[in-house]
């Protein structure tokens, strides 16, 4: 048995890079250091179906195995003939694949968008409004004496996040946990909230009110009500005192605040609060708790190639950005989209019903290693070699620190990047021959 060390884990945005994989006969037979979710990603859940060959759905609904060339050809045919294709997902693949994806979108005049559209998209909109005062996770570990988890539950969703960055000892926090104060904001008494020194049990959907009260109290205003958003006034004062006297504080926030009613306005208020807290002599930063291990990577790739982080529409030939009009859900729910390409995401499991109804109506292509709700809706399924397990690539952690994901075992399958490259080449060929035809037509058509 071979032990492969320092493996970055291709599951969540924490990207723990200390996993040890036990490998026997080109199979991962065990892991060390990984959390339960990470472990099952490496090992595959026992009930999961892992595709071994590309498949195309026949008219009777049956999936039939085909060769890769045929699957790619068919996928390209659908995309080239579509008027309003969407290329969606991109969060569980490498940045290198994302780069090819952006070029493919440009070539197809398609819309490209990632899972941020249904998770931290509102955070990105708030960044446009108010800014992005962040730090890397090591700053939290080494300096933070106050940590806030707002509307997230790392004990379950990012299981090693707290042990790596909150309980752990840091340069200026030699004792780890005893040197830090933990504030958790959550309507539930979650397992994270149970560890808190102060739990602000906000009423569901009232985060904005609470943030507003906190900002008012920070500036010395009196809170006129005994309770705000279900939280007692005195507890808010206590939390504010703690925040204002912190040496280094960090806010981690999750989807409980990005996807509840006020959405980006919640995050606006949150970012403003953090910015204002820097005016009291201490230091404050924030880090969004990103979900997929490379959701952040796509946002970066998309930004440096197009200027915008997600919801980029190439219909006019140049990148256009207007979330609310150029989002995946907008196009699906308005029934604009007439083909959908999905990679590194599972919209079948996460999208609202109206969007799924449209996905049923239009051809769907899924680049996906496992059987998922999305592949149930797909007309073409192409399984890739998985990044971080059977192929290499770059991924960006929730704080922007990037890693080279390792190839642990060999696979007969093409990587996401290779599949995309072959598709791109094919699309270019078709476009080139089409433009040749056009010019021939122009020459041969009689002059008027």
């Amino acid at each position: 048995m071979e032990l492969i060390k320092n493996v970055p884990c291709p599951f969540c945005g924490t990207l723990c890079d200390d996993i040890i994989c036990k490998v026997e006969n080109n199979e991962i037979v065990g892991t060390m250091n990984a959390c339960r979710i990470g472990h099952s990603k490496f090992m595959h859940h026992k009930d999961a179906t892992l595709y071994k060959k590309p498949m195309i759905r026949k008219a009777n609904g049956e999936l039939v195995e085909v060769e890769i060339d045929e699957a790619i050809e068919k996928a390209v045919e659908i995309l080239v003939n579509a008027k309003r294709p969407i290329l969606y997902g991109w969060s569980s693949v490498s940045c290198e694949a994302d780069e090819v994806g952006v070029e493919l979108a440009e070539e197809l005049k398609a819309l490209i968008d990632n899972t941020a559209t249904v998770c931290h998209g509102p955070s990105l909109l708030a960044v446009h409004d108010t800014g992005y005062p962040v730090c890397t996770l090591g700053e939290v570990k080494n300096r933070a004496d106050v940590i806030i988890y707002w509307a997230c539950n790392p004990m379950h969703a990012h299981p090693r996040h707290m042990s790596r960055h909150y309980f752990s000892r840091g340069y200026f926090r030699e004792r780890g946990r005893p040197d830090r104060t933990l504030i958790v904001v959550d309507p539930r008494e979650s397992d994270t909230a149970k560890l808190a020194d102060i739990h602000l049990q906000v009423e569901p959907g009232k985060d904005y009110e609470l943030l507003d009260a906190i900002r008012a109290a920070m500036k010395g205003h009196k809170i006129l009500y005994e309770n705000v958003a279900g939280v007692p006034r005195d507890l808010i004062y206590q939390a504010v005192e703690l925040l204002k006297s912190a040496q280094f504080g960090n806010l981690f926030f999750g989807m409980g605040i990005t996807q509840t009613s006020a959405k980006n306005r919640n995050i606006d208020a949150g970012i403003c609060a953090i910015e204002e807290l820097n005016e009291y002599g201490g230091k404050f930063t924030l880090i969004p708790m990103r979900g997929h291990y490379n959701v952040n990577g796509f946002n970066h790739v998309c930004t440096w190639t197009t200027g915008y982080p997600f919801c980029v529409d190439f219909a006019t030939g140049y990148p256009r950005y207007n979330p609310g009009e150029t989002g995946t859900n907008d196009l699906l729910q308005n029934k604009e989209a007439d083909a959908m390409f999905v990679i590194g995401a599972d919209p079948g499991a996460h999208f609202p019903q109206r969007a799924l109804q449209r996905m049923v109506e239009i051809p769907v292509i899924a680049i996906e290693p496992h059987r998922t709700p999305t592949t149930e809706l797909a007309d073409i399924i192409i399984p890739p070699a998985q990044i971080g397990i059977s192929s290499e690539g770059t991924a960006y952690r929730m704080d922007g620190v990037c890693f080279t994901m390792k190839k642990i075992i060999d696979s007969d399958l093409l990587s996401d990047k290779e599949i995309l490259k072959r598709m791109l080449e094919r699309v270019k060929e078709i476009h080139a021959s089409e433009s040749k035809m056009e010019s021939v037509k122009e020459v041969t058509s009689p002059a008027k």
């Binding site: 090591g138 910015e275 190639t305």
Partner: protein, 569 residues
């Protein structure tokens, strides 16, 4: 493929050629003595020929640059390009997307550009973006002025250990030069503070900016890196900061430049010095001290600077000087991005509007111009806007026109700028005009020499890389001083550009958008025995304080399409 560029007026300061009519021969990507009969002829009669431009200090790739794009869709939509043939689409006025960055530098006749701030921990990101920046040769400077290892070594007087650490780090991150930003100030920003001047120690580490600069300059020369320490001084943007600037420059005065590659003769490089040449005590009595800085440059040979010229645009400021960006955010009330990087550095991004109606901004414009015009030897000064901090690099043609025409400057001073430009600086009294030779110096030759790349870059002598720019301006019949709008137009869009002997711009059109440039980095071998000890110490601290394992820190060769290591032994 062979080319001959015929009958152009050649400006090549590194070879003392000042507007001579001559032919340039190109074979296999290099400038050669002569070519055969079959060589393709490019007629440059009545045109200017210069080496490809060399940008010594710009921010075009990496986390803070990308956050600048991400935070400002309003900037992106101001300037968009559609896909056209092989040319990729893009967007961004002050922070263009990577492809657009490569195209626009190339169109101006630039063929080399150095990313001036790379957080070592996030080096992968910088290199990923550089790979997507086509055509240009490039490199990146790792940030070391607030690095905990460096601070501890230098605090203990262990310069040699520090040098060994830096040698490893250059290889690990594929870095090119030592960048120092607000030494100790960014570490203080880890706690929400800053340091003031060069003698104010960093909290908890107890070392001062002056000690950091001295130690790093010594380490730089001990290793023999091609470029000198690249210094962004303390107190950026503070009225009265010129004293800090002069004191910082003086630290390197008695340290001898000893590069093991290249022809660099300076031991310190001061960057965007316009932001560091301020007098007064507040914004009320703010005034130019550029004459004092220029005087220092005129009297000392151990230093060269780039200017960081204000272009009077709405732009995006971005720097590893975290506390400065926070101050700018509190000053403007605009949105603010920040990223502190564990054990190493920090950064900030804030949009900014430089207005010709604003007294301070007008004076800042004048200060930059004074630096250019009062520094006698253009071999000590380089043209930059600290892109995008003082303005986008796409404004270089306008700066060239300002430098070449006192009429253009005076029109601006008289009709557009706030009266402070005249009152608080000496700009209105200066009638010096740059010649094309001077322009070639400040946009190519000086940068190539101080970067240690002048063997192959910044000139047109035999053996140089065939990076050549041809501009449609006839110095025999046209006068730059009066025809400054033409100067601005021809330097915006070169007539022809050769990169490594290939035509990439032809008759004012970019024809080869898909070629890759080199990535320069230094492959340092300093003291291998010492490095071993240093690394084992570094490894221990990695486990304790970083959130990345040592083994995942080094970035490997996969992040460069054309790796161009410079061997330092």
């Amino acid at each position: 493929m062979e080319y001959i560029i015929k009958n152009g007026m050649v400006y090549d300061p590194l070879n003392n050629i000042d507007g001579e009519k001559m032919d340039i021969c190109i074979r296999d990507g290099k400038i050669v003595e002569s070519v055969g009969e079959s060589a393709e002829v490019v007629d440059a009669s009545g045109k200017i020929v210069m080496a490809g431009g060399v940008e010594p200090h710009t921010h075009i790739a990496g986390p803070k640059v990308n956050v600048g794009r991400m935070m400002r869709p309003e900037d992106s939509e101001k300037d968009v390009e559609a896909k056209s043939g092989d040319r990729r689409s893009g967007s961004g006025f002050s922070v263009p997307s990577t492809f657009m960055t490569g195209y626009r530098y190339t169109e101006m006749g630039y063929t080399t550009a150095m990313e001036a701030a790379m957080p070592p921990l996030i080096a992968r990101h910088v290199h990923e973006e550089l790979v997507d920046t086509p055509i240009l040769d490039k490199g990146a400077y790792p940030l070391l002025g607030n690095n905990w290892f460096v601070m501890e070594y230098l605090k203990n007087g262990e310069v040699e250990e520090c040098a060994a650490y830096i040698a490893w780090l250059m290889r690990a991150t594929k870095g090119y030069a030592i960048k120092v930003v607000n030494p100790c100030g960014t570490e203080a920003w880890g706690w929400g503070g800053n340091v003031h001047g060069i003698n104010d120690p960093a909290p908890k580490f107890g070392i001062t900016g002056a000690e950091m600069i001295k130690g790093l300059v010594e380490a730089n020369e001990m290793i023999g890196l091609p470029h000198s320490v690249h210094l962004h001084c303390n107190d950026l943007g503070h009225p009265g900061n010129y004293e800090t600037t002069l004191a910082s420059f003086d630290i390197a005065k008695n340290i001898k430049a000893s590069p093991k590659y290249g022809e660099r003769d300076i031991s310190l490089y001061g960057t965007h010095v316009q932001f560091h040449s301020y007098g007064g005590t507040s914004w009320r009595d703010f005034e130019s001290e550029a004459p004092a800085i220029a005087d220092y440059l005129n009297k000392n040979d151990h230093i060269a600077i780039d200017v960081g010229q204000i272009t009077l645009d709405e732009t995006t400021t971005m720097t590893a000087d975290g506390p400065m960006e926070f101050d700018l955010y509190t000053l403007t009330g605009f949105k603010w991005a920040n990223c502190d990087v564990e054990l190493e550095t920090g950064s900030g991004v804030v949009p900014f509007i430089y207005s010709s109606k604003n007294p301070v901004h007008s004076t800042q414009w004048a200060i930059g111009m004074e630096l250019f015009l009062l520094t006698k030897d253009p071999g000590k000064i380089m043209m930059t806007t600290d892109h995008p901090n003082a303005g986008p690099f796409t404004r270089y043609p306008r700066i060239i026109a300002w430098l070449m025409s006192s009429k253009y400057r005076n029109d601006l001073i008289e009709n557009e700028l706030h009266a402070w430009a005249q009152k608080r600086s000496s700009i209105a009294t200066i009638d010096r005009e740059y010649s094309l030779y001077d322009i070639a110096q400040v946009t190519r030759a000086t940068a190539a020499r101080v970067l240690g790349l002048s063997e192959t870059k910044g000139h047109l002598g035999v053996g140089a890389d065939a990076d050549v720019a041809i501009y449609s301006f006839n110095p025999e019949t046209q006068d730059a001083s009066s025809d400054y709008m033409t100067i601005e137009a021809v330097f915006r869009m070169a007539d022809h550009v050769f990169k490594d002997g290939e035509i990439v711009v032809k008759n004012g059109e970019l024809v080869k958008p898909r070629i890759d440039g080199r990535t320069y980095w230094v492959n340092c071998h300093f003291n291998e025995e010492l490095e071993k000890n240093v690394i084992s110490d570094v490894k221990k601290k990695f486990k304790q304080y970083y959130t990345v394992n040592f083994e995942n820190y080094e970035i490997g060769d996969g992040y460069m399409r054309r790796s161009a290591p410079i061997e330092i032994k």
